[in-house]
């Protein structure tokens, strides 16, 4: 059964919101306003959005997205203004300027920011859902891992631990063809990330990561299994990174044909085509989504740009609990 029209329009909305937000960050970058690097998810929006929609916030589900899973953060309730403020390093950003990009956490809204050392958050998410289970909650956790990051020891230890403990965790393995400049074929000698699951006795699925509906449905199955005590699942989403690793990287190492091929499979374009072809939504409804996105982004960007940088002295404090904590710039 296909999801309801509203929900499908929501998928579109969040994919557009992701892309629009990142387009604007790209612009800010060109203006020299972004502090630090920018890792965008162009071409991968369907994976982040489709998977996060399978979670149930009312049941306390929690997601830990990678930097290329902005869509999942937004679905869980992160606001564009928060993200802008992070990239602009403003004092009123969620991390008060202390950490960058999507490295911020709100357990109430159900997201936990990642850290840079790859693989670590799979291990941390094990603990989150382990705790929730101890507390008698029905919480399911979802965590993302890149193709490259599945080579880390942290990923392995955590995936095995999740399996042994039969934890309610869904691991979305994003195979976007590259880890920085390293193609997946030089990162591992298996063709499918899903094969990593076999080492842990985990069920796995392979899904077209550019098809938001397919991702959603696959994630739903995994979430349902986890919710019922069936343990973790690894879903491999096959997608492609349409930009360099970060803004500074022109990805000259990626064959042009590969990019051309994947460009034709843009997740937003193809989903819009689908909505029209299946007569789920008409042109004006699709336009409306865009308009809504643009309005929100314009507002939120204006807000973020109006925010002051943090006060220098707010660098101190907040390392230990109970410590004298300066009132951070609000």
């Amino acid at each position: 059964m296909e999801p309801a029209k509203n929900l499908q329009l929501d998928f579109l909305y969040f994919m557009r919101l992701t892309r629009g937000l990142e387009d604007r960050i790209d612009n800010l970058l060109k203006q020299g306003k972004v502090v630090g690097g920018f890792f965008r998810s162009l071409g991968q929006e369907a994976t982040a959005v489709g998977s996060a929609f399978a979670l149930d916030k009312k049941l306390g589900d929690i997601v830990s997205p990678l930097t290329r899973d902005l869509g999942a953060m937004l679905v869980m309730g992160a606001k564009p203004r928060e993200v802008f403020a992070q990239y602009l390093a403003r004092g009123s950003s969620p991390s008060h300027g202390r950490d960058q990009n999507l490295h911020f956490t709100d357990l109430d809204r159900g997201f936990i920011g990642t850290i840079s050392p790859l693989g670590a958050l799979v291990a941390v998410m094990n603990g989150v859902v382990l705790a929730a289970r101890m507390q008698g909650k029905k919480t399911v956790g979802m965590v993302y891992i890149g193709d490259g990051a599945t080579s880390t020891g942290a990923f392995h230890e955590a995936a095995n631990f999740a399996s042994v403990q039969n934890l309610p965790l869904v691991i979305i393995a994003e195979n976007n063809g590259y880890a920085y400049s390293t193609p997946t074929t030089r990162q591992m000698r298996i063709l499918n990330l899903a094969d990593r699951a076999k080492a842990y006795g985990l069920p796995s699925e392979i899904v077209d990561g550019n098809d938001v509906l397919a991702v959603y449905k696959s994630a739903q199955r995994a979430v349902a299994r986890a919710r019922e005590g069936g343990g973790p699942t690894l879903i491999e989403a096959k997608t492609f990174r349409m930009r360099g690793h970060a803004a500074h990287d022109n990805q000259s190492y990626v064959p042009k044909e590969l990019l051309d091929q994947w460009r034709k499979r843009d997740p937003i374009d193809s989903f819009e085509r689908f909505l029209r072809n299946e007569q789920v939504a008409d042109g004006s409804e699709i336009e409306e989504v865009k308009t809504k996105v643009e309005a929100l982004l314009a507002d939120d960007l204006a807000w973020a740009e109006s925010q002051p940088a943090p006060r220098p002295e707010d660098a101190a404090g907040g390392v230990y609990g109970g410590e004298f904590e300066r009132a951070l710039t609000s």
Binding site: P94, D99, L107, P117, A120, G127, A131, A154, E157, A158
Partner: protein
């Protein structure tokens, strides 16, 4: 009230905390059915069940990672390293996740990572290390090392109740040492983290130390007494944050300081303490802050080598005599 070992004191502390707070749980390798390599958690599985006493795969990063995640959800996990040496395998998780979380994202990580530390039992290079200095340059972590049963029980409780990640070092030479058995209150009490203890009052010279070396210092003090040198012995108990006030107070009192630790010399804690003393009590110093430590090698295995490696009472005597004469 019977006298108990340091190990039994830690056991009691853990047990009582688990009775008191259902959020406290244990995880680690062989801690359940087996009760832990040193039997610190013997009997816990029966009493608290497999949900709260979790035998894990051999995966230190997964163990500490799971502890961090659970702590974020309001739990109070206590993770055991089978030997503290293996904490090297989760260095990233501790320093980059646990230590930085509160500062970066406003989320405290109240976990305890505990394990048997230190040498003197001929465990060789991989079962004898003192790891405190690996972590001393990472803000966000706390470190504790008790030297008496009384302190051990009070400190493990404090560590569990603390809102930050605490590394808790248990010197394996003290675990079952009958000589340091103590009567320890059966009920609840807490030794505050960050407070040193004056193990012996003295007026001529201070030895600042911790862990098993407290006894080396006390033995040296007894011997020096006969030579008319009166040693004050400070047991730091908490290594991070260490007790600046107590350190400055003893320096002001005696003006001569030996820092004694079992960790190797270069890059050991003594350096940091020396810097603090320089900064906060330089004008009181009547002689150089003097280190007595292990030598700069891995921990050797054969008894004569390990004995040579470790600081001995004789080494403290020598340092004290020369400093007294300064």
């Amino acid at each position: 009230m019977a006298a108990i070992t340091l190990l039994e004191a830690i056991r009691q502390g853990l047990w009582e905390e688990m009775e008191r707070d259902k959020n406290v749980f244990l995880l680690g390798e062989d801690i359940g059915a087996y009760g832990g390599a040193f039997k610190v958690t013997e009997g816990f599985l029966n009493r608290f069940g497999a949900d709260r006493v979790i035998d894990t795969p051999i995966s230190e990063t997964a163990i500490v990672g799971a502890a961090c995640g659970a702590a974020m959800m309001g739990m109070r996990p206590v993770a055991e390293m089978q030997f503290i040496d293996f904490i090297s395998c989760c260095f990233d998780m501790l320093t980059n996740y646990a230590a930085k979380s509160r500062y970066r994202q406003g989320v405290g990580i109240p976990i305890v990572v505990r394990g048997p530390s230190g040498g003197g039992v001929h465990g060789g290079p991989f079962h004898s290390q003192n790891v405190e200095s690996f972590f001393l340059n990472t803000p966000g972590l706390k470190m504790v090392e008790p030297s008496t049963p009384y302190d051990a029980k009070g400190l493990i409780k404090a560590a569990i109740r603390d809102d930050d990640p605490v590394l808790f070092f248990e010197h394996k030479l003290l675990y079952r040492n009958p000589k340091i058995k103590q009567e320890v209150p059966a009920g609840d009490y807490v030794i505050p983290i960050g407070k040193a203890s004056v193990r012996r009052e003295g007026k001529d010279l201070s030895v600042i130390t911790y862990g098993a070396m407290v006894y080396t210092a006390l033995d040296a003090a007894d011997r020096l007494q006969q030579e008319g040198i009166d040693l004050e012995v400070i047991d730091l108990r908490t290594l991070q944050p260490f007790d600046r006030e107590a350190i400055v107070a003893t320096v002001k009192k005696t003006s001569k300081v030996i820092i004694l630790h079992e960790a190797t010399r270069t890059g050991g804690m003594a350096g940091e303490l020396t810097a603090v003393i320089n900064e906060e009590a330089f004008e009181y110093l009547d002689g150089p802050v003097t280190r007595v430590t292990s030598i700069d090698t891995p921990v050797p295995y054969a008894p004569p080598l390990e004995e040579y490696f470790l600081p001995q009472v004789e080494d403290v005597l020598k340092a004290a005599r020369s400093l007294a004469a300064y």
